[in-house]
Amino acid sequence: MAGLTVAVAGLDVVSPVIIPAGPGGFGTELRERYDLTALGAFTAKTITPHARIGNPPPRLVDTGFGLINSIGLQNPGIVAFLDTVYPTLLPFPTHLFLSIAGETVNEFEDMARTLAGVEGFDLLELNLSCPNVEASCGVIGANPQAVHDVVVAVRRAFPDRPVAAKLPFEVPDVAGVVRACEQAGVDVLALFNCPHAARFDVATGKPFLARVTGGFSGPALKPLTLAKILAVRSLTHLPIIGMGGAWTADDVLEFRCAGADLVGMGLHTLQDPAEVCTIAHEFATGSS
């Protein structure tokens, strides 16, 4: 395998393999236990204006070829995150991306302003697409006008570092949303968050998850994700972080064939962070 380093939104990225928001947690544990230097980037789990305890259990159900999760953005809130978690991350061994979600334009803007004053991370990702919360942060990404408004406000409050927009898997008007991202000044598209999925226990007739549906991820998704990334690639020159089903080094290459610049490995990170780092390392060094 030839080495593959990538420049995205002004960042030199040592490997196209990144860890997307959520499956790697906030980074404290990973950073202690694994050698993350060969990763292109690590994205910390989404943080919100206030602490969230997340959804009731069961939060997970396996589907054989993937996993449905219903975490519900469990996080300590931005203040506690910056006070207690963030200091343990620095300096981070690779590019550090932070992910935020709000329910209103103001919430996004306030968080962005706070983070504009915080050193040590390289990109701000807007989670416009969490499938596991009822509030509007779960659906903003499907609405071109809402996307536009959030991004414009964030750009104003957070002018100096790149901003990524993480879009939902199911968007009625993809072209409209992509155009809104371009016009409002997004630097990177993160495609996609998990689509809605469900499983039922046939013994009881009841759903496995407390909240019935959750977000689906894993290798089962790959063929669907690839078609969607290809469609977006034909609409824009913005750099794309592709994710949803990437598991192997060949998958990373396949995502790049479809038009992704960087590739996130969510479920794989969650089951085996060391292996994801090894795959990243193969790309970083060109060994295999």
Binding site: P57, G66, Q271, P273
Partner: protein
């Protein structure tokens, strides 16, 4: 995950339980668990308590109940085959000298490991069938009280009027009966929740603490002082 070789597989006569022994010498404490996976599929590993370790032979054993997708894959294994493992994970039971052990079903697995590391003040095991009883008999310390369904292990234990610290593992209904009715000493419970990473990353395995915060069964547990655990979830 690390590849390890299957040393031995033995099934109960009704093939509802499997004792799986693999070549893995990771130093584990009783109450810790490991994530196991067979082949490429299912892609998400499952948590199983460490049931026994043989330091000399360099092996670790798991007691696995028939259930779901992974079981079908386990059935295809032969000694010499490879499985993937991650661990040991979790906190394990405290280092108390002579606990009382109360286990239901596969909940006996971590307690067997406790009993192998120290003298115990009593061992109460509830099993589903006579076949399971026969299968577990050689693994249980002398003097273990075994109840078979429809008998409840909690009834046998409470009737014994034992007193002292308890380590309990089993279905949550069983743990709640103990929590409500045992007054002879502190209880540590080993909880089960669906897991994916097993190491605190995904936030998939929550349990509410009485004071309101959320703990993770995999990395804050699976063993908790019973008094800390809230058995319901309120927003």
């Amino acid at each position: 995950m690390t590849d390890v070789v299957v040393r031995q597989m033995s099934f109960s006569t009704d093939r509802s339980l499997l004792l799986l022994t693999v070549d893995w010498r990771a130093a584990a404490r009783p109450g810790q668990f490991a994530m196991l996976k067979v082949g490429d599929w299912p892609v998400v590993p499952r948590p199983f308590s460490i049931c026994a370790q043989d330091r000399e032979a360099g092996t670790t054993s798991f007691l696995i109940r028939r259930r779901g997708l992974l079981w079908d894959q386990l059935l295809r294994l032969q000694p010499g085959a490879t499985v993937q493992i991650k661990g040991p994970l979790g906190n394990g039971f405290p280092e108390l000298p002579a606990p009382l052990l109360v286990g239901g079903g596969c909940g006996v697995a971590p307690l067997l490991f406790v009993a192998a590391t120290r003298p115990v003040a009593g061992f109460y095991a509830g099993v589903a069938s006579a076949a399971e009883q026969a299968f577990l008999a050689p693994l249980l310390p002398a003097g273990t009280v075994v109840t078979v369904k429809p008998q409840f292990v909690t009834d046998a234990f409470l009737a014994s009027r034992s007193a002292g610290p308890v380590f309990a593992c089993g279905p949550s209904s069983m743990l709640r009966v103990l929590a409500n009715r045992y007054r002879g000493g502190p209880i540590w419970v080993s909880l089960e929740e669906r897991m994916a990473c097993g190491e605190g990353l995904c936030k998939g395995c929550p349990v509410r603490r009485r004071e309101g915060s959320v703990a993770l069964v995999c990395s804050d547990g699976p063993v908790f002082p019973e008094g800390e655990v809230s058995w319901t979830w309120q927003d």
